[in-house]
Amino acid sequence: MQSATAHAHETHGHDSHGDHAHHHDVSFIRKYVFSTDHKVIAKQFMLASLFFLFVGGLFALLIRWQLAFPGEAIPLIGNILPDTWVSDGAVTANFYTQLLTLHGTVMIFYVIIPLAVGMFGNFCIPLMIGTDDMALPRLNMYSFWLVPPAGLIMLTGFFFDSGAAAAGWTGYPPLGPSSGAGQTTWLISLFLIGFSSIMGATNYMATILNKRAKGLQMFQMPLTVWALFITAILITLGTPVLAAAISMQLADQYLHTSFFMPDNLLVGAPDNSLLTGAFVQKGNELLEHKQLLGGGGQPILWQHLFWFYSHPAVYIMILPGMGIVSDVLATFARKPLYGYKAMIFAIMAIAFLGFIVWGHHMFQSGMNPLLGTTFMLSTIVIAVPSAIKIFNWLGTIWRGNIRFTAANLNALAFIATFIIGGLSGVFMASAPVDIYIHDTYFIVAHIHYVLFGGALFAIFSGIYYWFPKMYGKMLNESLGRKHFYWSFIFFNLTFYPMHLLGVGGHMRRIYNPYIYEFLQQYQPMNQFITIAAIILGFSQFILIFNILWSLKYGKKAPRNPWQANSLEWAAPAHPGHGNFDTDIRVYRGPYEFSHPDRETDFYPQWEEPQGDEKTVHETKEHSHSA
């Protein structure tokens, strides 16, 4: 302890040079590529996911172009795309379904989950619990390095003759298993990224349970850490079920089993070019005689297994955002988080309920209606913990001394859009209403309000909030605010009208809606949405420009730029390997803003109590140990 304090004084001088204080002789590759430092891994997650964000965004714009101007050549790139994708510069029906499938899959599995869980989980957990790294740094490195190959495997589908996966992001059978090699790449890719998720989640939980700084109780951790902890539980218990389902679908495709294939289903033999021997023989047999597949399976079984993971997955995507927003709002309202424990219990309740509501995706599947009713009730109950969170956020900013930073604006936008997305969720949870709006653009509007408006705005908020600690530079606030206003306005202009399309009966996955007379009246609205979507897409370049500009020309960040309380702000401005240059001891919770006995309006977790308070604290501890 003595030497540690001495060291702390020594390094205090060069605050922003944390890197040099803990210099290690490691090669470039070990330091930046195959690094085991949680902060480098977080940056790698950020880079990979932002790349996929633009890939998925491009897919979305191609989809939007087709819906607004069906059959017209895509501007700029339409004529240079290969003939298998476009005809006369316009997206073909086959390519359209591939885009639709991969837009959903990329955005969910390669953007939101890696950003919300991979990036923030890696960056925030060790810093916010005051430790040097993850419990198992090497496992952490593996969990990232599965992501790029998994993503690229899926994208290779576009270069097959039969195209990429086109069965929707849900991959429902019998369509899924009877599709070609694109579906295979999709399945393998999800299996790999699922494995990466499980490795990450295992590590997060072990880290939070085992490596908290001295004095840090579970109920003194910031909400971000709590949210990530509970998210990790969801990942650990949900993802393996998807892995099992994926294995069964792969078997249906290549081993000609029939887990999900019903009796008397006649399909052409699946693509079996990857297999040899008896398996090929069986495939050829099926093809020749157009035989019936074995049968005995149930397509709905896939839906149950898929949604058993994929419903908790929506909470995997939104819970970290809820945690981030709680921290950002409290910091910029200069007030303690309203109802700290209630917020944690609400997250737990959402996570628990998240596991027993998957059937609400299946009201129209032919499932027993009685079962539908139970799923309807459990789903609507989720509104209760969600409302607890909303009202507690409002309570947090109520009469606060609000600072409208870019981070805070995005957090406030999260609340607004999450309310809209949450309320449309209640519509869909109600089985009779859902029968009408099922598979329409209403669903599309809802999912984008919670995933783009909710999760992604929270992620933006987190990026603005933690960027100084990540890179040692402040992001440009004015550009940040511009990015926010453009994104927020055009987000709403893009997705709000989709509710109206959906109520008007516009199908969710349709290639050309105007073959139906009753949908022709919606073409102007679709064009409006497309233009808004294009502007929304291009607004994101402001963020990229801001990041690049600030990395080079940004102001040097101080240790604690937002005057926040949690432990990551005790670390040097740009922490190196090992994170902290002082010993961390925790004396209080993370939300002690505007403490009446203090001159400054914040009271960091690591600051030693002064005077009377200290004696009280010490006696308390003494009696405790005795």
């Binding site: 302890m1 030497s3 540690a4 060291h7 702390a8 390094t11 204080a21 803990h22 290690h24 005051g130 430790t131 040097d132 419990a135 198992l136 496992l139 499980i198 989640a201 295992t202 590590n203 939980m205 072990a206 880290t207 349970l209 085992n210 490596k211 908290r212 650990t236 218990l237 949900g238 993802t239 393996p240 079920v241 998807l242 892995a243 099992a244 389902a245 294995s247 069964m248 078997a251 081993l255 000609h256 089993t257 029939s258 887990f259 069986k282 597949l293 074995g294 049968g295 005995g296 149930q298 079984l301 149950h304 297994l305 390997h577 090992g578 994170n579 902290f580 240059d581 002082t582 010993d583």
Partner: protein
């Protein structure tokens, strides 16, 4: 860390990081097999007669033999940990080697079982019961192999000059090995022994 800070203190839960992570990972593994067992229950109930006829084709004797081999390997695994903790390197190597042998024995019996099935023209696509049979036992066998790989590394290292002295790592692997054993304890009755009533 080079700095001499005491951030990296003893685990809060008093359980080593790797061991704690293994327990969490095993929870995840349980859910993986739960996916298969759940699907099995659903499809069994809609194909009772088929499942009953097909289950009768399986070789109970070989499965019983494999059950003994795996339970035996769990015992030798536990004994090897115990001996490493006590510092009896010789016995540690003996019991770890026996565990690896049991793993090989299990896989050999499994191969015999599979090839008998193939020679009787029973394949994964024959019917949905055999689809489950091949997929579930196949994934279990992959788990056995996955356990044997680090075990073999430990075994080889134990014979080097430096020797092998990480009881916690062996214990962590032991947790995994017992889990793989446990999965078989469920697979054996579910696939081989339970006959649905007609």
């Amino acid at each position: 860390m080079s700095s001499g800070l005491s951030l990296a203190h003893e685990p809060v839960t008093k359980v080593a990081h790797g061991k704690l992570a293994m327990w969490i990972f095993l929870a995840s593994e349980i859910m993986f097999f739960t996916g298969f067992f759940g699907a099995f229950i659903v499809l069994r109930n809609s194909n009772l007669e088929l499942f009953s006829h097909s289950a009768a084709e399986l070789t109970k004797g070989l499965a019983l033999l494999n059950t003994f081999i795996l339970i035996g390997s769990s015992l030798t695994m536990a004994l090897s940990i115990l001996n490493l903790e006590k510092g009896n390197m010789g016995k540690f190597k003996l019991f770890l080697g026996l565990t690896i042998l049991c793993g090989f024995g299990f896989l050999i019996v499994k191969t015999i079982e599979y090839s008998t099935k193939f020679s009787h023209h029973i394949f994964p696509w024959t019917n949905v019961f055999f689809s489950f049979y091949f997929l579930m036992t196949g994934f279990h066998a992959i788990h056995v192999i996955a356990g044997m790989i680090p075990m073999t590394f430990m075994f080889i290292k134990a014979f080097t000059k430096k020797g092998y002295n990480h009881p916690v790592k062996v214990e962590t692997l032991g947790l995994y090995w017992h889990f793989v054993d446990l999965v078989w304890i469920f697979l054996f009755p579910v696939l081989y022994l339970i006959f649905p009533a007609h």
